[in-house]
Each structure stands twice: as structure tokens, then as C-alpha cells.
């Protein structure tokens, strides 16, 4: 850091520690005032637990103590909703959502899961001697009020999660949800940025961090819906690898508490509590300082140190939400720690003790280092230009003690801090979705020409080309991106999943993403199944083994204290559990971001649609036999795997026809066996191209395959052309197969049907014999949004 000679960064303007008057006489009303004024975002029952604790001790809590408890117990850090007891309207008591997910992973009992739902990331091993660490995070609230900084540090944070899991980061993913690009400025609620402004800032922020830190941004999605105008969503994922992973041990008494990396500043104060609250027009002003400032170069140097330092520390975690309070607080659980705050190197003087302790300044890792290893680690840091700070020691007395100039400013029993929060009890009203499918394509759809509907779909922002975004990210660095996000003759086609395989390895892994909030609006449980199915389709489509796959869940929801919202969340978790079982693909990590709501100054609440992102990561046994979506050779046969039903709920066909349908596509119980068969055919090199049917249905799938390959396709007549082309039924893949292998493929896939063939003439001929030129489709699909 630049050190101006005229500033002593350790100088302090305000060092006062305030005591907050909470004791046995404090009324619930007074507690509520304190809760609101300090932005603690605690429940009334939790404030009472705080009061009981301190009145029992006979002291008023310091601001440092109160803020530490608020961060540790925040929805963001403690996942109170996912851990709550839930009672439904029928009086039925459900297991907590987190326990449902954990139990499903335990029941699936997959041999390749090393660690799930503990620590910073899920850890798996598909190949002896090599482990992968997986994590996906959300950074929604920060990205809403400061798009660049919010997205930038979202990427930085999830990369640190992988470092905190003792893995070297190798690839990043992101899923972005914005309001429609053509949103009328005058319709925006007060304090909300126009979606274009948010979108540009977020994409810049992601590109800036990922490109500068030197990680390929390989997979993702961009979604547009009016539900995201006031609450944009930013999901950032990271995958790391290790050849020498050993399970972390706990810090031992006398281990030093070492902080590596960036300096502490006032950026990112109260981020965890801010993220746990509903936003409104004042959020930008009040919580502007909650968004951190990213510095990818500093984080890159910390990665370089950690790659060489694995033998030099006992435990490691990253400074994320809650800063040092959360990182050291978590590591001190069951052992205790003593921390001296004046040791922390500051960006500038004047930070109060609680600000140093709570700051979410970026690029900092906390390590437990045995005293005899400190010198070697310090030397390594010097060589890489990384700041090394000794903040204190782990003690063994189970007490978390924080001092400022040796004066205690916080003394908490780690057991109270981590286990003292009263269990939350919540009520849910379970949704009753409409699940009767139509018998054929609805009138609102059949009244339009199939060709017109298809062209409208290709131009829809959710389906249109994302190439201009993808080119902003370096997806080539490390040379391991074996199936890219863009595929085809000139590298402008949309692929399904991506495959990462080191240049000389025979094997690799695939990443697939499933997300469909439009299903979620009507049927949260089916949405969850659909997302899992889509993520699995995407990895299978590029050559991964569906029997060696794991899942990550990321929920972005509205306020769960609304009983119907919690009901939808619970239904989505039910869907996740049945999807995981259907594929024997266990969840290994997840994160929920709730309270994605915006209270307009007119009193109107804007909530996000239920948005579940499923990331599937699966083993690719033969990295030389991966498959892409682009059509390869004229004359080949096109085969559709999976059944098509007239299920148009949440479909993009309904969107482009300005219509509504409510029956969301159902899960096909045959899908797991279909995917297994497709994978076997790929290993036998009998499939030349493969693309999944998702938003827009089969018509969009074929159009994308044809555009990517710059080849034509002729589809055979169908009984119900509109359902055939535009239903978004699950479990479907389109295969391009050479004539010699068609009978083998059909034999391996019961129910699969020949739907057409690849042609040299540059037209897509639809089942009703109408034709669209590849060029015309490209013009619409690639038109700037």
C-alpha cells in the first residue's frame, strides 16, 4: 500500500468504546429502538436473549459485543430461516430446511463427497489424489446499491471461500438477474438504478475482478425479468483444485492468529446485517459504506502465498461477512482467542474498535499458525509482497477476548456467541400449484405462426445471444477450458455446460447451471426439480457422467416471514431433495439470500421471483470425447430424447405471446436413465452434437444448433407443431447422429424419436414446412438488446 509520510495509519481519532444501556430493566420496546437505531436486524426474541445474557453477567454490552452478536446471528451468517422450526398451516411440523438438504446428502452417501455443508466450500473427489472445492455465493444487496463494487467483491469473496477451503481457485461462474433492458425510467421506484446501469456495472465488476486475478470466467447465465428491477441478483461461483488436500484441524491453544492480505478500512461495515434487511430508497445513502472496495491484485498475491504455504498453517478461513469478528469468532469456537485490535494495519486512521473488528474490507485471510511456523510464513509473505499481521493467539479457555491497547472491548463466551441464539419458529403456508396439463397447445399460442413465435423467442433478452457479455470475461486463461461457453463454426453459438480439463489430463469436470424463476412464480417445487434437471442436462450434454455429479443450491427469495413466501421456499427445498435423490447427485454446499425485497416510497413491496440457482459439477471421464451443441455435418439425423407434453406454465412462449399459463413442466422419472444412456453413447463416439431443450423449447434448441454450426436443419412434421416446438418439458436433449449409429442410439434410448436431419441449405425448415434462414435468425438473435 502507498504510505504517505504525513499520515500515521495507526493514529486514532475516535477510540471510544461505547457501552449500550441494556440490562434487566430494558423493555422490549427499548430493545426494539436499539435494534433499529444500530441496524442490528435481530429478532425481538434474540434481543431478549442478548438482554438476559448481559444482565446475568451484570454488565452493559459494549458496542463491539453488540455488533459482533448482530453479525454472528444475522440471517446472512446464521441462516436463521434455513435452521428454523417450520410449522405449516395444517399444523404439520417440518424438519429445518438445512437438515432436509443435509439428510438427502447423507442418504445418497456418494463416495466422491469429501465434505459437505461445513466450512467454506463443498469438497469432492472424482479422481484419486485430486480434490475439487465448490462454492457459489450471492452478492445481491451490494450489487443493487453499487453494481460495480458489489459484483466485484462478490467474485473476490467466493474466490476467498475456495482459498479458505485450502484449494487453489481455477474457474469462476456467475448468474446475473436484472430488470428488462428496456424498462421505462419513469416507472422505476425511487432510489432504484435503471437496469442497464446495474447490468453494465455488474458485468464490469465481474470482468474486472476475474480478469485481473487471472481466473477464467467460464459459465453463467443472464436473466431479465421485471421482478429484478429493484432487486438485481448476482450469483458468483468459484471452483478450486488441490492435489494435497487434508481435512482441516481446529486451531490449537497458543497458535498465532495471523491475518494475510489487504488492510482494514471502513468499507463494508455491517454488510451482513444490511444484507439481511429489506431495502428502500434510503438504503443507498444509509448503507453505501456496506459495499466493499475490491483489489484483485492483492488477492492474487495471497493465492500465490497460500499455494506455497499449505504446510505452514493449521487452519484457515476468509474474512467475509462480519470481517474479523466472524472469521476469528468462528475459528475460536471451542478453543477461545485473544485479539489485539491495534495490531490490524489500517487503510487510514480514525477507525473505532468496533469498526476494525467488523469491517468487511476485502482480500483478507485469517490463519491459525503454530508459533514455530510463523517465521517461515512471514518470509514467504515478504517474498510475495503480502502483508502479514499477528493479531493475537488462540487460547484454550473458550473465551473470545478482544482488546484495544490492551483494554478489553469484548469478552464473550464462544458457546453463547455460536449457540446462544434462540431457535427461530416460523409458520409457512404451503403453495397449492395448478398441475393439470393441457391436452394440446393452447389457443393463445396456436393462433400465431410457429415461425413468428420462434423469431420472437430468438429475440427475447433471455434467449438472445450473450456473446457480447462472454467476450468481456477472460475464459481462456489457464488453457483448461476444453468446452467453452461459446461454441461452433465461428465461436458464437451458445453451449450447454463447460468442461474444464488441464491440457495434459485425460479427464476433467463439467459445470452446468439450472435456473428458471418463471417456473418458480407458479410452482416452486417443480421449479427446483426443473433446475436440477437442467443443470444435469447441461453437464451430460458436454460429456459428463451423470452418476458422478454433485449439486450446489443458491436460493434468492423474498421475506420469509411472509408465510406464503416461506411456503414456497419450503416447497423448493422439497423439490431439491427429490431431484437430488432422483439423480443420486448430492448437494455439497449452498447458500440462501433472503429478504430480497424493496420497499418503494409509495409503500409498495417489490420482491424477487423465487430464484433458485442449481450448479451441477460432474466428472468427465474422457476429456477427448466431449461434445458441443453446434451441428457438424449435413446428412446427419436429429434425434429427440425425452417426452414432450403441453406444459406451458412459465414458458417463454407464453411470455412472447403476452399470455399466461400456470402448469409448470413436470419432472420425467425416465430422465436419469436417459442421461446415463446418452453418456454411454458419447463415450462410444456415436453422438456428434448435443444440445438441451430449455427456455423456448425445441425450436430454440434446433435454431441454436443450426446457427452455431452454420448449417441448416429440416424438421419432420409433428402432430402438434406448437407443443413440439415450444413446450419447455423437462428431460429433453437433441442429438445429432451419423446414419450408421442411428439404430444404436434409438435402441439405447427408449422413446427417443427422429425429428429431422441436418442440411447444407442454410435454412431451418419447421414441421409446418415454413422456413427461416440462418442469416435471418442470426440477425434477430444477435441484435443488440
Amino acid at each position: 500500500p502507498i504510505e504517505p509520510l504525513f499520515v500515521d495509519t495507526q493514529a486514532t481519532a475516535t477510540v471510544a468504546v461505547h457501552r449500550v444501556p441494556i440490562d434487566a430493566t430494558t423493555t422490549p420496546e427499548q430493545l426494539a429502538v436499539i435494534n433499529r437505531e444500530r441496524g442490528l436486524a435481530l429478532d425481538p426474541e434474540e434481543m431478549i436473549a442478548v438482554r438476559e445474557h448481559f444482565s446475568h453477567r451484570g454488565v452493559h454490552p459494549t458496542d463491539v459485543e453488540l455488533e459482533t452478536i448482530a453479525q454472528t446471528w444475522s440471517e446472512h451468517c446464521a441462516h436463521k430461516t434455513f435452521r428454523a422450526n417450520i410449522t405449516t398451516e395444517s399444523g404439520h411440523t417440518r424438519p429445518s430446511l438445512i437438515n432436509q438438504l443435509r439428510a438427502s446428502t447423507e442418504q445418497i452417501n456418494a463416495p466422491f463427497v469429501m465434505s459437505s455443508f461445513v466450512g467454506n466450500a463443498g469438497i469432492i473427489s472424482f479422481t484419486p489424489g485430486r480434490t475439487l472445492a465448490l462454492k457459489c455465493e450471492t452478492h445481491n444487496h451490494p450489487s443493487a446499491i453499487e453494481p460495480f463494487g458489489g459484483a466485484n467483491t462478490g467474485v473476490g469473496g467466493v474466490i476467498r471461500d475456495i482459498m479458505g477451503a485450502q484449494h487453489t481457485p481455477i474457474a469462476c461462474t456467475n448468474i446475473l438477474c436484472f430488470g428488462p433492458p428496456d424498462t421505462d425510467m419513469l416507472s422505476l421506484p425511487e432510489g432504484v438504478f435503471p437496469p442497464r446501469r446495474t447490468c453494465d456495472g455488474v458485468i464490469d465488476g465481474i470482468a474486472d475482478y476475474g480478469n485481473k486475478i487471472g481466473l477464467p470466467t467460464v459459465a453463467g447465465a443472464v436473466l431479465y425479468d421485471p421482478g429484478y428491477t429493484a432487486n438485481p441478483l448476482v450469483y458468483a461461483g468459484c471452483i478450486g483444485t488441490s492435489n494435497s488436500f487434508v481435512d482441516q484441524v481446529s486451531p490449537q491453544p497458543r497458535d498465532r492468529i495471523v491475518v494475510l492480505g489487504g488492510r482494514t478500512g471502513r468499507d463494508g461495515l455491517r454488510g451482513a446485517t444490511f444484507s439481511s434487511m429489506t431495502m428502500d430508497a434510503t438504503t443507498g445513502d444509509v448503507s453505501g459504506a456496506s459495499v466493499q472496495i475490491g483489489d484483485p491484485i492483492t488477492e492474487k498475491l495471497v493465492i500465490d502465498v497460500l499455494v506455497d504455504a499449505q504446510h505452514l498453517y493449521r487452519a484457515i478461513t476468509d474474512c467475509g461477512a462480519g470481517g474479523l469478528s466472524s472469521a476469528i469468532g468462528e475459528m475460536a469456537e471451542g478453543v477461545g482467542a485473544r485479539v489485539e485490535l491495534t495490531h490490524a494495519p489500517l487503510k487510514y486512521p480514525g477507525l473505532a474498535p468496533w469498526e476494525i473488528w467488523l469491517s468487511e474490507a476485502q482480500e483478507r485471510m485469517v490463519l491459525a499458525v503454530a508459533p514455530q511456523q510463523c517465521d517461515e510464513l512471514r518470509l514467504l509473505c515478504t517474498q510475495h509482497g503480502v502483508e502479514y499481521t499477528d493479531m493475537g493467539e488462540f487460547t484454550g479457555d473458550n473465551q473470545l477476548v478482544v482488546t484495544y491497547n490492551n483494554e478489553p472491548v469484548l469478552q464473550l463466551d464462544t458457546d453463547f456467541l455460536h449457540n446462544g441464539r434462540p431457535q427461530r419458529n416460523m409458520r409457512a403456508i404451503m403453495p397449492k400449484p395448478h398441475r393439470t396439463a393441457d391436452h394440446s397447445a393452447p389457443k393463445w399460442l396456436t393462433q400465431h405462426n410457429a415461425a413468428d413465435v420462434l423469431m420472437a423467442l430468438l429475440g427475447h433478452p433471455n434467449i438472445a445471444s450473450k456473446a457480447s457479455v462472454i467476450h468481456r470475461y477472460d475464459h481462456e486463461i489457464r488453457g483448461a477450458t476444453a468446452v467453452r461457453p461459446l461454441v461452433g463454426q465461428v465461436g458464437d453459438g451458445h453451449g450447454d455446460g463447460v468442461v474444464i480439463a488441464e491440457p495434459l489430463d485425460d479427464f476433467g469436470f463439467a459445470i452446468g447451471i439450472g435456473v428458471n424463476p418463471w417456473f418458480g412464480i407458479h410452482d416452486a417445487e417443480r421449479m427446483a426439480l426443473a433446475c436440477i434437471d437442467e443443470a444435469m442436462r447441461n453437464v451430460v450434454a458436454v460429456g459428463a457422467d451423470p452418476d458422478k455429479a454433485v449439486l450446489l443450491d443458491n436460493f434468492s427469495w423474498g421475506d420469509p416471514r411472509r408465510e406464503t413466501t416461506l411456503g414456497e421456499l419450503a416447497a423448493a427445498v422439497d423439490g431439491c431433495v427429490s431431484g437430488a435423490h432422483a439423480f443420486a447427485a448430492p448437494f455439497v454446499s449452498g447458500k440462501d439470500s433472503l429478504n430480497n425485497e424493496y420497499l418503494g416510497s409509495d409503500g409498495e413491496r417489490h420482491s424477487v421471483p423465487p430464484t433458485l440457482v442449481i450448479t451441477a459439477v460432474a466428472h468427465v471421464p474422457n476429456a477427448n470425447r466431449t461434445v458441443t451443441a453446434d451441428l457438424k455435418t449435413a446428412g446427419n439425423t436429429l434425434i429427440l430424447v425425452g417426452r414432450t407434453l403441453p406444459e406451458f406454465g412459465g414458458s417463454h412462449a407464453a411470455m412472447v405471446c403476452n399470455s399466461q399459463s400456470t402448469c409448470v413442466p413436470s419432472f420425467d422419472e425416465q430422465s436419469p436413465s436417459h442421461y446415463r444412456a446418452v453418456h454411454a453413447l458419447m463415450l462410444q463416439q456415436k453422438i456428434r452434437a448435443c444440445h438441451d431443450c430449455s427456455e423456448g423449447g425445441l425450436g430454440v434448441t434446433i435454431a441454436e444448433m443450426a446457427m452455431a454450426g452454420r448449417l441448416g436443419a429440416a424438421l419432420l412434421p409433428a402432430a402438434d407443431t406448437h407443443t413440439h416446438l415450444f413446450s419447455e418439458s423437462l428431460g429433453r436433449l437433441v442429438l445429432e447422429v451419423e446414419a450408421a449409429h442411428v439404430s444404436d442410439v434409438l435402441a439405447a434410448l427408449p422413446g427417443a424419436q427422429i425429428i429431422g436431419s441436418v442440411t447444407t441449405t442454410p435454412f431451418l425448415v419447421l414441421p409446418d414446412n415454413s422456413a427461416l434462414s440462418i442469416e435471418a435468425m442470426l440477425n434477430v438473435w444477435q441484435a443488440p438488446q
Binding site: 487471472g214 467476450h471 468481456r472 481462456e476 486463461i477 488453457g479 463454426q489
Partner: protein, 242 residues
């Protein structure tokens, strides 16, 4: 013949050094990387190496302009050791941020000055391009016949120079690589890479180190296997060996 040793120089934010080290190893060299702190402690490292590589990335986060601070660091630590290495017949290569650094350092193109400006499209771009080897003076390209197909990943890659410099570069056969087909950044005369007057120093914006094995070709699934970047490194290693 023993494998030549390639020294890869890095600064805070350099991030493609593992890729170029892999490429050089596949081409038959041994490699080691030194950051500026380590280089300060091992002043003889440049003299002891047979090849010098300035790797790509975002040194110092591109503060004050891409490559500028890296160049200042290098000139302070090793003076003109890079020019001396080239004069002694050691192949030197700067890729992407390394090219920007060598231009800032004044090593490239040499007596005349050039610059790498912001891409014409206005921002960072990552995509695949073809480039044609065009110089017999450059020891890195003189025996190359095939075009190289590889990605670019940069925001400041638009080669610019005065008309006088450009005609000097042309006359002196210092234009080593030109974009073939699409010019991704608006470089003058489609220039992707240039060499210095000795021919031993090559600077280029694209990343041949990311196309070393056929599977890295983006149209691998369409049976396209041409345009390996490996050939450039093999050529460099063979010069270092001779």
C-alpha cells in the same frame, strides 16, 4: 543438447506465467519464475538464463497504463539487462502485458517508439484470432510457415506508431506477426507482434501459450487441429539451443 532455461519475470498481477511456463516446457525448455522482489535478490538470474520471458496479466492492475509500473520496476532493478541479453543472442519474448511492458521499457520496437492503446471497441475483449508470421528478422517467427490460432485477452492492445516508425518497421522487417482475417483491437497495419532490431526480442498481444495441445482448439469438436501456438515456442527454444 541440454534443455535451455527460460526465466519468466512476473510482477504483482502477472497471471499467465503458469500458461507460458507450460508452453515452454512442452517446447523443450526448463522454466523458473521470479517476481521483482526475488529478482532484486538474484541479480544474476537474467545472465544465467538462456531465454527471458515477460509474462502476461495485469501487472500492478494496469495502474498508470498497462505495463508502465512493471517497466519502471524492471529498469530500476536490472537496467538494460534485457537489451544486453538480446544482443548476446538470447531469445526474449513479452506476451500481452509483457509486450506492453517491453514497449514501455523502450526495448520494443527499439530506437523508434510505439505504443499500445486502448482497444478500438473500448474495453477488454477475449476471443480467438489468427495471426500470420511475417518477419524473417525475428528469430521467433523466421521459420514459421503456418498461421497461429490463439486467443486474445486484453484491453490495451491497439498497436499505434507514427507513419515514420511504421515504415521503418516495415523496411526493417520488424513486423513479426499480423492479424489475419479479423483485427480485434484496431491495431495499425493489423500488427499483432513486432521484434526489435536484433530480431531476438518478440512482443505480441495474443496468447499462443493457450494453444499448445490440439484439444485447446475451440473447433476441436469440428475436427480442426491446425494453428498450434506451440510452434512459436519450439522455434524460440531451438534458437536458444543453437
Amino acid at each position: 543438447m541440454s534443455a535451455p532455461h527460460a526465466l519468466v519475470l512476473t510482477a504483482p498481477g502477472t497471471n499467465r506465467h503458469p500458461d507460458v511456463m507450460f508452453a515452454l516446457q512442452q517446447a523443450g525448455a526448463t522454466t523458473s519464475a521470479l517476481n521483482m522482489h526475488q529478482l532484486r535478490e538474484q541479480p544474476g538470474a537474467i545472465d544465467n538464463a538462456q531465454m527471458i520471458v515477460v509474462a502476461g496479466g495485469f501487472s500492478f492492475a494496469d495502474a498508470l497504463g498497462a505495463g508502465r509500473l512493471f517497466a519502471l520496476e524492471l529498469s530500476e532493478i536490472v537496467g538494460n539487462a534485457i537489451q544486453s541479453a538480446a544482443q548476446a543472442g538470447k531469445p526474449v519474448i513479452g506476451i500481452c502485458n509483457g509486450f506492453q511492458t517491453l514497449v514501455r521499457l523502450g526495448v520494443l520496437p527499439g530506437k523508434h517508439r510505439a505504443a499500445l492503446g486502448h482497444n478500438e471497441v473500448g474495453g477488454f475483449q477475449c476471443s480467438w484470432i489468427s495471426m500470420k508470421p511475417t518477419s524473417h528478422r525475428s528469430v521467433w517467427t523466421q521459420n514459421l510457415t503456418e498461421e497461429i490460432y490463439c486467443p486474445i485477452a486484453h484491453g490495451e492492445g491497439r498497436f499505434t506508431a507514427s507513419e515514420e516508425t511504421l515504415s521503418h518497421l516495415r523496411d526493417n522487417d520488424q513486423i513479426a506477426l499480423t492479424y489475419s482475417g479479423r483485427n480485434p483491437n484496431g491495431s495499425r497495419d493489423d500488427i499483432a507482434g513486432i521484434c526489435d532490431e536484433t530480431g531476438f526480442v518478440l512482443g505480441l498481444m495474443p496468447h499462443p501459450e493457450n494453444h499448445i495441445v490440439p484439444r485447446q482448439h475451440p473447433q476441436y469438436h469440428r475436427g480442426q487441429l491446425n494453428g498450434l501456438g506451440l510452434h512459436l515456442f519450439t522455434q524460440g527454444v531451438s534458437v536458444a539451443n543453437s
